[in-house]
Symmetry: C2
């Protein structure tokens, strides 16, 4: 086996595949890259059994056949420091010899027998979506997913396909984020991808220059394909909760407020709220929203901002981080906050933009 490749191409494909390397390795071999040279092609693969990447390396010269595994962290560090523009790979016994300029690495390889096959979903439904649109949708909801891997049904993003509609939903039980957009699609389907898989999706969307991406779903796996890279993710075998039940249908109080002013006010009251209570009281009156937080040990803070209000006065309390998280993911200058009462979920959405909404559960008034 012999491969001659530009160092940059080798580094790029290693970097793309490295996102699927197993971090805490159940099987040691999954902390490595599979290098496969076959039929004039050179593939670099990695998988942690939940997600997998198969990258095709565009090499100037490929000869022979080989299939072996190399240690992930050493190879990742190595490709960053190779001195020459061109790198040559060959085998010497069970050592992979990497030569670049006046540097020679001899890296011990492992047999590839136990490395799992990384096969994409071959059947199932297929849809195309605008890359930057999907990227935005994911970014707008992913933060609301539960971080705890043991909450399997919430530790991810729920994908819902209807005729000409894609909806993404994430929730950790305390807040929920929803994004929907028109796409060309005929089928009905839904699946849950774990947070780890969703980060892989973001990674794919970040790294492609193609304007649209093809998504395939076969009931068990989801694959995203671009020119040189196939990324496969296993869907989570758990049921996403019936999220529609927490979205209120009518409201009694509506507040329109500058997103920037509310963010700055939150920063101020969080100085005290972060010292234990994690609670901020919102006192909503005619043209004023007063944010108040108290700490038995450190004191209190009162902060007033101007708002436009319709409907009833209201006093309600939130974990300020959840409101701050929502504000970080809205881009309009003004936002709408829609309330039922002090114990019901609050709906926050960008002003005059439909398809995107956030739900935050209140906390008990102290």
């Amino acid at each position: 086996m012999k491969v001659t490749v530009t160092t940059l191409e080798l580094k790029d494909k290693i970097t793309i595949a490295s996102k699927a390397l197993a971090k805490k390795s159940v099987k040691p071999i999954l902390a490595g890259f599979l290098f496969e040279v076959k039929d004039g092609n050179f593939y670099i693969c990695a998988t942690d059994l939940e997600t997998g990447v198969k990258a095709t390396v565009n090499a100037a010269e490929i000869s022979g056949e080989a299939r072996f595994v190399v240690p992930g962290d050493v190879i990742q560090k190595m490709v960053k420091v190779l001195p020459d523009e061109i790198t040559e790979l060959s085998l010497e016994g069970d050592a992979l010899v990497i030569s670049s300029g006046s540097t020679v690495f001899r890296i011990t390889t492992m047999p590839a027998d136990e490395f799992p096959e990384i096969t994409p979903a071959e059947s199932g439904i297929t849809f195309e979506v605008d890359t930057s649109l999907l990227e935005e949708m994911v970014e707008k909801v992913i933060f609301a997913a539960a971080k705890d891997e043991f909450m399997r049904n919430l530790n991810g993003v729920f994908w819902e396909l209807h005729k000409n509609l894609l909806r993404l939903v994430a929730s950790d039980g305390f807040r929920l984020a929803l994004a929907e957009e028109q796409i060309e699609n005929e089928e009905e389907a839904s699946f849950l991808l774990s947070l780890k898989s969703m980060k892989e999706v973001q990674n794919v969307l970040d790294n492609t220059t193609e304007p649209t991406i093809t998504v395939r779903y076969d009931g068990r796996r989801v694959s995203l394909s671009t020119n040189d890279v196939e990324t496969v993710m296993r869907v989570v075998d758990a049921e996403f909760p019936d999220y529609k039940r927490v979205i209120p249908e009518t409201f009694k109080t509506k507040v329109v407020v500058s997103r920037k002013e509310l963010r700055e006010s939150l920063k101020r009251v969080m100085v005290i709220a972060s010292k234990g209570s994690e609670s901020v009281k919102f006192e909503i009156e005619e043209n004023v929203m007063r944010l108040v937080s108290k700490s038995p040990d450190y004191g209190e803070v009162v902060d007033e901002i101007e708002v436009q209000k319709e409907g009833e006065d209201l006093v309600i309390a939130f974990n300020p981080k959840f409101i701050e998280d929502v504000l970080k993911h809205i881009e309009t200058e003004e936002i709408e906050m829609n309330f039922v009462d002090s114990t019901s979920p609050c709906q926050i959405n960008p002003l005059d933009i439909s398809g995107y909404l956030y739900i935050v559960m209140p906390i008990r008034l102290a």
Copy 2:
């Protein structure tokens, strides 16, 4: 007590004083700032008993007298988010009321009785030194100090004053850094400042705009003074080792090499060296230095660079991080490496610049 001050000035002086706040607090009160309003002056103080800062706040209006302690972390966060350009401070019972724009904080204060006096050294020797020169000297040696606080005699920087000379030395037992410069001074003296105190020294030098700084030493404490800020540090009561014994007087091999090329070569061999051995063999021949590292599990790397050599051929091994650390702190394009033999300390210094030198102990050849 009432103080009116620009929010920026309050934030600046809190930031300066905060560097002396106790991190892991032995006495809870030392995690706070002492606020002292007296004779028309407003001082903010902090100390962890080892270092202390007394900052004079330039306030537009100061009236009354008060002396109390406020919690360090809350105040630090608060000054960063005050909304208006002007902030007013007053006392309401034992609460410090901070008003800025439409924000009001009421912060619980603690009595100041147990807060230690922060007094500068009043007697002792005094010398002046160019601020940027001292900053450079400190930066060139501080990295070589032992990080372990329990190695009291090495966990710091040794200051040596001779007639018209200031020398700084740091060592962790494996490597040593020395910097000396001419200054105007008549007295002989030496003292050891802990790494923590030295970081405080760096902080003072970073934050002053004055071209020279006055250093005072009274046998127990060292003080640095600039316009509004006094910084006092306790010297370490431990003896710095006789460092002159490890500096070789004659050499058998001298290598001149590009600093940049050696740094890049080190990065390459460290890919393997960092996998367990932490050892790189330097094979020095006529015009070549070959760096070799091996790992029983991962393989090996061989890297060659061109050098100019005088004297005998040599094979010697180092922890590559120690050589890399030295190279980061030299600015000349080429460096000199001076060797005695494979078991004696190596001296590294910038080419054609005197007063700065580094010693690195070799490790046993594998």
